[in-house]
């Protein structure tokens, strides 16, 4: 990967991880069903999360214009691990041996499908 492609990949990693953590922060709002949405739209996190996704969409397009899709999916599997780590740090989610192995299995599977496609 060229330096520019590596930078784009790093940016997709940052925006994807930040976006997922922001959506998790937004989803913690009170209420069920429609009430849940009413409290979420008053919160900054849903807007930060959606904005991160819109930016990531364009960075992803730029990244894919530099590398083949298969390589894109391959390195994109790293996001799974960064979101697991982010969940641990910011939401104190348990990181048991089973969850660690499960994360590695899914990430390896996504990387393999990406590499092979």
């Amino acid at each position: 990967m060229s330096a520019a492609a590596t930078l784009m990949w790093f940016l997709t990693l940052v925006f994807d991880t930040f976006g997922q953590l922001a959506l998790k922060a937004a989803a913690g709002a009170e209420g069920d069903g429609l009430e849940h949405w009413k409290s979420m739209v008053k919160d900054k996190w849903i807007y930060l999360g959606v904005s991160a996704y819109v930016i990531e969409f364009f960075v992803w397009l730029a990244f894919l214009s530099m590398v083949p899709l298969s390589q894109g999916v391959l390195v994109g599997s790293v996001n799974i691990l960064s979101v697991i780590i982010g969940g641990r740090i910011f939401f104190k989610e348990a990181l048991t041996p089973k969850r660690i192995v499960a994360s590695i299995l899914v990430a390896a599977g996504v990387a393999l499908v990406g590499w092979a496609s």
Binding site: G87, L105, A107, G109, V110
Partner: protein
């Protein structure tokens, strides 16, 4: 495991199946819309052709449905495992591509799909023994 967590199982199962169905529909719509409007020049004509393309709307509806489902799931689901499990979409898109679009399935793709499914089953097994911190 508390009774409250035990009752979350059907909610997670239905939620994730719905999420994967919406995600898969979005990807299929995206694929057809991209093919029908190719090449992506980002010119006004191209943008207009994307707006007029009916598959764009399957994609849009899929993304919207997935977003609503995702936010509802995340109210209680831990983000790390939920995000990992949402990659089941990779397997379902592959299945659709092979059965309907007659794309060729390779051995590494089969092994990769089995790893993803195996990882998700392990996440489900791990759920049974974890007490998540109370939500704020």
């Amino acid at each position: 495991m508390s009774a409250g967590q035990a009752s979350m199982r059907p909610f997670y199962l239905i939620g994730f199946l719905l999420l994967v169905a919406f995600d898969t529909a979005a990807q299929i719509g995206f694929k057809f819309a991209a093919t029908n409007t190719s090449p992506a020049t980002f010119s006004p004509e191209w943008i207009f052709s994307v707006i007029c393309e009916k598959w764009s709307y399957l994609s849009l509806a899929g993304y919207l449905g997935a977003f609503i489902t995702w936010m509802t799931l995340l109210k209680t689901a831990p983000i790390g495992p939920a995000f990992a499990a949402s990659h089941l979409e990779v397997v379902t898109v592959l299945i659709v591509c092979v059965t309907w679009l007659h794309e060729k399935l390779t051995l590494p793709q089969i092994i990769g799909s089995l790893l993803i499914v195996g990882g998700i089953i392990l996440f489900a097994v791990a759920e049974a023994e974890i007490e998540e911190p109370a939500h704020v």
